[in-house]
């Protein structure tokens, strides 16, 4: 750890103590696009074992928040303090962050269009022997064996997501909802400790959406995978979240359990537009 971050986060002991409680701690995140303050000092904390949601009106900065903390966009201002488990990930490249166990999906579904669904699934697992040029030539039996295991895992996941019947289709041939599911499937192939999901069930039929959330809860409870997700669908958010952060104009305006959020006047205002007498 670089001394600077140590100073900022307090002592090493404190970091570890924090990491015991929080999976992700992203404080004071700023992002400007020209004059637009997309993120204006947002702070989001993901507690271990809780399903945390990030909601807010369109354009409130939710996706931008994901992009910044996963390394795809740079931070503005120096105040940010982003800690994932015991790592300070403020200066990391996207690949480094992913390797530490924090993986994400994109709001606009991004798959590998000209590859089959199965190939798509097999790209994501970490530490594949066959992904080193030497092993490709020298260790064929090794990676073939590994591959067979990954294929089985992929088929199981695809089956769960109800897209196993299109396993041999090119990803570009899938419907919009199926493409979303494929992106989630790819994440599950990795062994993540924190999933960042940007509107995972937008456009997915409600029955399956509920199933997916059930599965996410199951992952969280059995495998200890934590989840931070963005979603506009209030029914599922209120039903499944443990903790909700509400973002408006780049600021976190409320935080709490679904009940607290539903009772919060500020949140209603943010969604419906502020009433003049309140302002």
């Amino acid at each position: 750890m670089v001394p600077v971050s140590k100073e900022r986060n307090g002592s090493q002991k404190e970091i570890v103590k924090m990491a015991e409680k929080y999976e992700l701690k992203a404080e004071n995140v700023y992002k400007y696009f020209g004059g637009l303050k997309a993120l204006d000092g947002a702070t989001v904390l993901v507690e271990k074992g809780k399903l945390t949601s990030l909601i807010g009106p369109n354009g409130s900065g939710k996706s931008t928040f994901f992009n910044v903390i996963t390394g795809y966009l740079d931070y503005d201002e120096d105040d940010a303090n982003v800690q994932f488990q015991v790592h300070d990930i403020g200066n990391d490249e996207p690949a480094e962050i992913a390797n530490k166990g924090m993986v994400r999906t994109f709001q606009h579904t991004r798959n590998f269009p000209k590859m089959t669904v199965l190939e798509n699934m097999l790209v994501s697992p970490k530490d594949q022997a066959g992904e080193s040029i030497l092993w490709v030539f020298l260790g064929k039996p090794l990676w073939k064996r590994q591959e067979a295991k990954f294929v089985v895992k992929a088929m199981t996941i695809l089956k769960f997501l109800e897209i196993d019947h299109v396993v041999d289709h090119l990803a570009e041939e899938l419907s919009g909802g199926q493409q979303k599911l494929l992106a989630i499937g790819r994440l599950l192939m990795t062994q993540p400790s924190l999933l960042l999901l940007d509107e995972p069930v937008a456009g997915v039929n409600p029955t399956l959406a509920n199933k997916i959330f059930d599965r996410i809860i199951q992952l969280k409870d059995t495998k200890g995978i934590d989840v931070l997700l963005i979603e506009h669908n209030m029914d599922v958010i209120m039903a499944f979240s443990d903790e909700i952060f509400v973002l408006a104009d780049g600021k976190v305006i409320a935080q709490g359990t679904p009940e607290e959020i539903q009772a919060n006047r500020k949140v209603l205002d943010a969604y419906l537009g502020e009433s003049p007498d309140e302002a």
Binding site: A95, K114, T116, V123, E131, A148
Partner: protein, 452 residues
């Protein structure tokens, strides 16, 4: 999506198609020998070829159709080779073979760089230059040709790696522009740098170039067995063509292993969307640099081949045109399909060279063309065929990009197998491999191998 079905190919009844096509080939060969009329034989072959190309039977997999196309093209080329061997065109065919080898190597190099990984490399000729110059220079200075060749391809690989490390962070189109420039810089360098001029026994030449480059296995060829009666029609250049074909085979094997491995899959995902590949913690840049080195290795072998073909290399051999010719062969063949690179090169080289055959001022074609030009503008000088060559190649490229952008042999989606069984295709009624079954088989080693 077409209704190509994986399961059909496993069906033993479908073997009949393979047998039928083999028999038709055999008949074709007998036929051509029987008539002894070269022109008629070639026309017959061409008809057979077209027939095979157009019958895209829905019942066969992309892979089967592609294999048939490859077989048809190569067989036809070899057939034409044999038919023409005692005619004045035999020289033409031998030279064509040499350049087919050259362009296949270049197209293969593009296929790993662009077809697989999506790098827009317009600097192929730079990689070729390094391969040619290093091989030529070292062997002229007395190094055994085999080692000079190894150094040549390694040199090209290292050079490509360095270029990639310094410029590959640029976006696609910017990298493309830079890569053209690098080729040109290197050519100018060759023009002016005295230490890159040589001939056996002398390092001081006043004009740029490497002269009298020794050819591989020339001594062996002259001394031995090969000159026995059966091969009486063989000359050294044909022998060189075979050496080249052997190099192509090795390159093809290497590239094929990469293609059908998790490594190849990862590269493909970089081509499709490198941002997403990044999400899974893969170091995209590192992979791109390595693949540029491998593409340099193969293009470098093409460079060595060029040195052996010409015996003399000068900066004029390394004009950017070579890059665009390589791209043409690559696109005609089918980006993303290794077998396609052979087909693409055969078609491209024959097209390019055949237009040269017309270069006879007395030919009907040239007289017609010239009278047309004179009609349009009486002052105009008579036409030279070398321009026509470019026009033909350009027109074919445009036609392909417009009507068949996937090329002659389109990319085949890679479908891994479990214990030699194909996975079920969507919608197919055939018995599918169930997940439970897969679970049971998981621990058993996968013996299936569907390379090439």
């Amino acid at each position: 999506m077409s209704k190509l079905s994986i399961n059909k190919i496993l069906d033993p009844i479908r073997i009949d198609y393979k047998i039928a096509s083999s028999i038709s080939f055999a008949i074709m060969i007998l036929f051509t020998f029987a008539i002894k009329n070269t022109l008629l034989a070639i026309i017959l072959n061409a008809i057979a070829l077209v027939y095979i190309y157009i019958q895209n039977d829905q019942n066969y997999t992309e892979k089967t159709v592609n294999n048939i196309k490859l077989l048809a093209t190569v067989t036809n080329f070899l057939l034409a080779f044999i038919i023409l061997k005692d005619t004045p065109y035999s020289l033409f065919m031998v030279e064509a073979l040499l350049f087919i080898v050259f362009y296949t190597l270049l197209a293969l190099s593009l296929n790993v760089g662009n077809g697989l990984t999506g790098i827009v490399n317009f600097g192929v000729v730079a990689q070729v230059t390094v391969g040619a110059v290093v091989t030529g220079l070292l062997s002229v200075r007395g190094m055994p040709i085999f080692f000079a060749f190894i150094w040549g391809i390694l040199g090209a690989a290292i050079f490509s790696g360095l270029i990639a490390m310094t410029t590959l962070r640029l976006k696609d189109d910017y990298f493309a522009i830079v890569s053209i420039t690098i080729g040109e810089i290197f050519r100018q360098f060759l023009n002016t740098e005295p230490s890159l001029r040589a001939r056996p026994g002398s390092n001081k030449l006043t004009t740029p170039g490497i002269l009298d480059i020794p050819q591989p296995l020339a001594g062996f060829y002259n001394s031995t067995l090969i000159n026995i009666a059966f091969f009486d029609w063989m000359n050294y250049r044909l022998f060189l063509g075979f050496i080249g074909a052997f190099i192509v085979l090795i390159a093809l094997l290497i590239v094929n292993v990469i293609y059908y491995s998790p490594y190849g899959r990862l590269l493909k995902s970089i081509r499709e969307d490198e941002l997403v590949t990044n999400v899974y913690g893969k170091e995209v840049f590192k992979y791109k640099v390595i693949i540029m080195m491998i593409s340099g290795l193969i293009a470098g072998a093409g460079g060595a081949m060029l040195a052996w073909i010409f015996l003399v290399i000068t900066p004029e051999n390394f004009l950017p045109l070579t890059t665009f010719f390589a791209w043409t062969a690559f696109i005609i063949g089918g980006r993303g399909n290794n077998k396609g690179m052979i087909v693409g090169s055969i078609i491209f080289v024959l097209l390019q060279r055949a237009s040269r055959l017309l270069d006879n001022a007395d030919s009907l074609f040239m007289r017609g063309l010239n009278s047309f030009v004179k009609f349009a503008n009486p002052e105009a000088p008579s036409v030279s065929i070398s321009y026509l060559q470019l026009i033909v190649v350009g027109a074919v490229l445009i036609l392909f990009l417009r009507f068949s952008p996937r090329g002659m042999l389109p990319e085949e989606a890679y479908r891994p197998e479990i214990r030699g069984k194909k996975l079920p295709r969507a919608g197919s009624q055939a018995k599918s491999v169930q997940t439970e079954e897969l679970d049971n088989n998981a621990q058993t080693n996968n013996k299936g191998d569907n390379n090439l």
